[in-house]
Symmetry: C2
Subunit: 257 residues, 2 copies
DNA sequence: CGAAGACTTGACGGCGGTCAACATTGGTGG
DNA sequence: CCACCAATGTTGACCGCCGTCAAGTCTTCG
């Protein structure tokens, strides 16, 4: 039903067309994505929305009539199976496109939840498509985003299919660390990660209990310390060796020209 | 080193510019992808190559200087970890783009192997990019392909993260069945799948031994029978219920207009 | 016919799931 | 300020799916 407005109902704030972030210094974190180019085309944006607590903004089965981009805060893209199992397909960080796979209108195969304190931009899909036709830079940005999403999906599949619980968590933490560093969102040696153990479990194909046990083991081995949403990487070298981490795939979104 | 020519060395056949397939009846299988549009732009294609036995045509780490599309036969896109573990990221079927995620030149994060009896087309990336800029239909085809790849990757992640061995195999078999039906490559009730149990294992995050046990169980339960590369689906209804299969994601590549 | 690879089956073990109990945290209202 | 409650985190005991190891069979191909 009221698909198009689901984001609006998330908050009373709504259409906020002067925006934090647009062309401002605060938007440097999105440098890997170049959706700045999109933001800079004012006519394409419909509105910005703000949520202040965990909110499911898109549900699997509905048709996305707009294109969304996450400006601030974290989100999840996930699928619920009929028996309640959940698989988190990707985490959305500030600057990430939310519904890249939905440029053409079709029922979504996934849901999107925003965690507390998130800001999203909403764009008109048709207008965006028209601009992509005429503006080659924008088209290349979109292609680069697609490539980056595919590279990250590959990495996620490798994590799920061929790594142990310890390796999976180590790899994901290094991914977060690298991304947040790239976007200048790290203060000191500690990183804020607003996820519950449940989120890690559902992303990594584990149970919360085993995530807990594994975090404990990693802490005992002085590799990482993740508690209360604060991640400390204690021994990056050993951690990267354990995870087999190579962050090259994370710069796949950079337009090389 | 001789990256660009790696495909040529696979076979003595090489540049074959009249082609089987181009605009011919034999090419209907690719209808979901619309790379026909690409094929129809003769200037973009560099050559066709044929392999007759399993051949690794692209290796992770090298830079793809061309874009490839699989015309006939099956292929694998996979990653090798340093300790020998392998994760198959996707299977390539006739009509599939091989290096979609490599439109911009960067080292590949995966390898590609063609199974016996495969035919690939090679395209000039720069020319293709130029055509995408000028030909909106081609651009939309590429976008549709990207969306489809992402949708299939999502499904693969769900398989790996949240399904049992039996469910994973059931789901993959139904995916093959649906794709091959869509492309008219099914004769009778039996489907030819040129994969070893090793391939299923490496795609589904299992061991060959457990794949074997699970295939046995599925056969005993009269759900599917997969032996010698021939797949028979014995009870599609129960199989779909077991796998939680919904094939909608497989038509994500269709350009709706 | 011999060798190499793929398939099959059984025995055993471990990683991670399940169940249960309890501690901790944070939010709410009296 | 504190009692209360729900969500989250923590830990232990036990179990089962799937991995490991081993032995043997079948297929293919030179």
């Amino acid at each position: 039903m009221s698909q198009k407005n689901s984001l609006m109902t998330a908050s009373a704030v709504g259409a906020k067309n002067d925006g934090l972030a647009v062309n401002s210094q605060g938007f440097t974190f999105a440098s890997t994505l170049d959706w700045r180019r999109l933001e800079s085309i004012q006519a394409v944006r419909i509105r910005q929305s703000i949520v202040t607590k965990p909110t499911t903004v898109l549900k699997q089965g509905q048709i996305a009539t707009s294109f969304y981009s996450l400006l601030e805060g974290w989100g999840l893209r996930y699928r619920l199976l009929s028996d309640g199992r959940r698989q988190i397909l990707s985490f959305l960080l500030p600057g990430d496109p939310v519904t890249l796979s939905a440029l053409s209108p079709r029922p979504l195969a996934y849901s999107v939840q925003l965690l507390s304190e998130a800001v999203v931009s909403e764009f008109d899909i048709d207008l965006m498509n028209r601009h992509m036709r005429e503006n080659d830079e924008l088209r290349q940005s979109a292609n680069a985003c697609f490539e980056r999403e595919l590279a990250m999906a590959d990495e996620h599949m490798i994590n799920l299919g061929r790594r142990s619980a310890k390796e999976r968590i180590a790899h994901l933490m290094l991914e977060f660390d690298t991304l947040l560093h790239m976007r200048g969102a790290v203060h000191g040696g500690q990183i804020f990660i607003p996820l519950r153990q449940r989120h890690l479990a559902d992303a990594l194909g584990l149970t919360t209990i085993h995530v807990n046990r594994t975090l404990r083991a990693l802490r005992d081995e002085k590799l990482i310390d993740l508690r209360g949403g604060i991640l400390s990487i204690l021994d990056r070298e050993r951690l990267m060796a354990l995870a087999g981490f190579d962050g090259a795939y994370l710069s796949a979104g950079t337009v090389t020209g």
